[in-house]
Point group: C2
């Protein structure tokens, strides 16, 4: 496999997770690391990893300089969930003729909330011959791409329902905060109204499924409600009293002619029993899939990002989505021209 | 979506199932049907469907004539499991500048058993600018492509185990015969030795997974054993006495340096309890997936074939595999340029 020069942009927990995975791939050459945090700039990026190591890549806050100097072919990007925040970053990367694989949730399917920004990115990427892709585990895989992949066995699909139930007590503190764990009901509702409690990505996943299935939806509906703690529950970081909020339930629906064609149900709360990811396809034949225990999000998101990299060069330039890619997987790379293997009975 | 002119080649149960699905797709124009069965030739292919209908497509046994006359862009092909049987058919199709999507199990990954024939097909397809793809539900999806897709969330994979347990009593008679249901132990062993009892496709699925993961396997091992009927069991067609054979267990392993990297376990027998498809990935993070009830093979195989068609034109010419394709799904087709949709809370 050809070596791919990669720059990591954004060194929060997910960005550092991506760096960890990048360093395990023989076909990746990590050539730069960008972050605005003054406490990180100037350090070897390996100093932020666990265990600490030396990578020879110094963290810089000057994106333009890094992109010009090291000319990456792909930038792995994890700075924000929101299109408006990432737009100048993405445009700058693309103008330096590098492709982008980003964890920005809104970028996974930006055509609903930000059609104008999506068009801008698509046009600029096409001009520069680069690919821009938003991905991750949710949105990006579990509640959208995987559902589409499973529908491959169906002659016909009437509806798709997927749910992800996460025991947030085993996730990192920022996620526990984001879901409102430990808040009173009143404070939870206030923060929801302010937009401070919210998982970003469900309408994006609905849109991606509908695009794949050829459903021109009439509307996408979304709702956030608290999951109340029936009894006291606690994580390493947060204690929740009975009756307070343990986390969120967020539901998004894709509707056409009054029919709920897509229903996605995400529950993330402290103490969730039987965590799982499941996809139920009402079709011919039907498909009733469950991933027991659920997929660990903090481990999976960096994996999905890095696993996409070998496929990027096969895509048409422009703003792409996960349903444009062949299945991504954690390949270490080998010379596949010799596919011979001994065959015997045992 | 652009209309695709399709010819169906082979009108056994699976071929007719493909015709059924093709007729539901607005972007398919069925332009021909080929079969050598004297009882079928000359009839409208719709006469073989249930319910009977008129399609205007007359069954012919002259493949060359059909291919020259109606110039399909893709031929959906379901005549045999074996490379040696299908080779002249595939070559003739490709020489008429049509791509092929075939249910021939050995074609799904022909590089292990028939590297020379695979090379021939690949070269001829490249010369004619066509694509040749072997697919189906098993091999083609459940025990290979789906496992690869699921590994997309993994930073690292140590091994993949998949199993498919099918209650064959609800499948068609030829399948019940193929698995030896109702035979004595002696007769079962005799037919295994003669190669008459065998599911074709497990080593192919092992090869496909290994190719995706970048594992250069040392060997692939395969074994067929009977599943004995603990008590009498029967289907619509066959009665099995206690102690006789209810069906088969077939296991294939992909081995590298003594490690079992891939283990596929297929059990098809009358009266199987809790039928399911499952994939267990030992990785970071791990994935433990089950499809409850299992996917209905006779319905799914025609679906997978037809769902592949819209993706074929995006592939590089040559002999391709399922891991080259973006996720296939039963799209009815729409103008995806307008992706706007109303977004609201509920």
């Amino acid at each position: 496999m050809e070596t791919i020069k990669v720059v990591q942009y954004g060194l929060g927990p997910i960005g550092l997770g991506i760096v960890e995975v990048l360093l395990t791939r023989p076909w990746v050459e990590l050539v730069g690391a960008i972050d605005i945090d003054r406490n990180k700039v100037g350090k070897d990026v390996g100093q932020l990893l666990n265990p600490v190591r030396k990578t020879g890549v110094t963290i810089s806050d000057r994106a333009e300089e890094v992109l010009s100097d090291v000319t990456p072919r792909i930038v792995t990007h994890a700075t924000s969930s929101y299109m408006e925040t990432i737009l100048p970053q993405i445009m700058e990367i693309v103008e330096h003729n590098a492709s982008v694989v980003s964890t920005a949730e809104e970028l996974s399917y930006p055509f609903v909330k930000h059609p104008e920004l999506a068009k801008k990115i698509d046009e600029r990427a096409k001009e520069s011959g680069t690919v821009v892709l938003g991905t991750g585990v949710n949105p990006g895989f579990l509640l959208d791409t995987l559902a589409v992949a499973l529908s491959g066995v169906c002659q016909k699909v009437s509806s798709i329902r997927a749910e992800r139930v996460v025991d947030a007590s085993r996730r990192r503190l920022p996620l526990q905060r984001k879901i409102g764990a430990g808040l009173s009901q009143e404070e939870f509702q206030r923060r929801v109204a302010e937009g401070r409690i919210k998982h970003v990505g469900l309408p994006e996943s609905v849109g991606l499924i509908a695009l794949a299935m050829g459903w021109k939806l009439g509307e996408i509906q979304e709702r956030i409600t608290p999951v109340d703690a029936e009894k006291a529950v606690e994580s390493e970081f947060i204690k929740v009293s009975a009756g307070d909020v343990a986390g969120i339930q967020q539901v998004a629906k894709g509707i056409l002619g009054g029919q709920e064609l897509v229903v996605l149900d995400l529950r993330m709360y402290l103490g969730a029993q039987s965590p799982h990811d499941s996809i139920l396809i009402d079709g011919i034949p039907p498909v009733d899939m469950t991933i027991r225990g659920g997929v660990h999000g903090d481990r999976a998101t960096p994996a999905v990002v890095v696993n996409c990299l070998p496929k990027i060069s096969q895509l048409e330039p422009g703003l792409r989505t996960m349903i444009d890619l062949p299945p991504v997987c954690p390949t270490l790379g080998w010379d596949s021209s010799d596919r011979s293997v001994m065959l015997k009975t045992f």
